[in-house]
Amino acid sequence: MTGFGLFRTNSLDYAIPLARICRIVQEKKVYQLPGLPAGIDFVLVYNTVLVPVLLSGSTVDTSWSADISPCYALVDSEYGLLAFATEPNSRIVAEHRGKLSVPSTKEQIWQTGTFSYQGRDYEILDVDVLATEIARGNGLNCLTLSGMRRLNEEETAAGR
């Protein structure tokens, strides 16, 4: 099946291609470590591997701590596993059940398009580009300042 995992944080609705999703884990504890790359605030332990947690939201909303983010989508990227924080109401949806929009020009290089499903628009993330940007030291910009904050502003402007 071609489809998407649809996820939500308190500030972003996002989609990840199903082929990239390895597993969704619940109630995993996350940990801080010193000197993490910008854009990554925590890691979780999966088997004996440390997995960087993305979209934890701590730089956007400090009230959303690691303790109240019980779900993580483990996603395969060119830089290994990444864990995307999400609220527990994630779902897997076949591509034909929603509407896929791919813009002619990308506003953000880490967004490949939009998947609309049941009245919500989910930004489709390019996990390889995200990982590359983090590796280049641009994680904070792409995940928070120019990314999630912009989306927050757009949602606020749209009255959502």
Binding site: Y31, P34, G35, L50, P52
Partner: protein, 150 residues
């Protein structure tokens, strides 16, 4: 990490757990207020005070300065681990001792490829004890002739 005692010391600093080979440790000191002299500091080297240890002033190093961490624990409430070094004893200030763990109970964690591109993780090891990550504290990175120069 090798340990002749077979045990390692786990401590916390800014809510992060570290592990230190017990072979490095000379003594653990608490109730530091009367022992610390903050007027004798050298922040460029991470030394925040002189610590009175057995009637000798030794450097007290705060690793959070080099690690970029923020600890909520005041210096007077911290715990000092007196370590033996190539230039004599020195102390590292930590928040709390968590306990001793058998070295054999730990396994080495696999670091993500994403971390290996950062300078911090080019030399850092992380161990796992009961699934909890413990950053290996390497004293030579914080004090002495071999310490990293920022």
């Amino acid at each position: 990490m090798a340990s002749t005692t077979g045990k390692v010391l786990v401590f916390s600093l800014a809510e992060i757990r570290f592990v230190l080979d017990l072979d490095h440790v000379v003594e653990v000191l608490e109730q530091l207020e009367p022992r610390l002299d903050p007027s004798r500091s050298d922040l460029r080297q991470g030394i925040v005070a002189a610590l009175d240890f057995r009637h000798t002033a030794i450097p007290a190093v705060d690793p959070t300065l080099k690690l970029g961490l923020v600890s909520a624990t005041r210096y007077a409430e911290k715990v000092a681990l007196v370590l033996r070094g190539s230039e004599g004893n020195w102390a590292v200030l930590i928040d709390q001792i968590e306990g001793l763990v058998p070295a054999a109970a730990m396994v080495r964690a696999t670091l993500p490829a994403l971390f290996k591109v950062t300078p911090e993780y080019s030399e850092t090891q992380v161990m796992l004890a009961d699934g909890v990550p413990l950053v290996v504290f390497e004293p030579e990175r914080f004090y002495g002739i071999n310490q990293d120069v920022a």
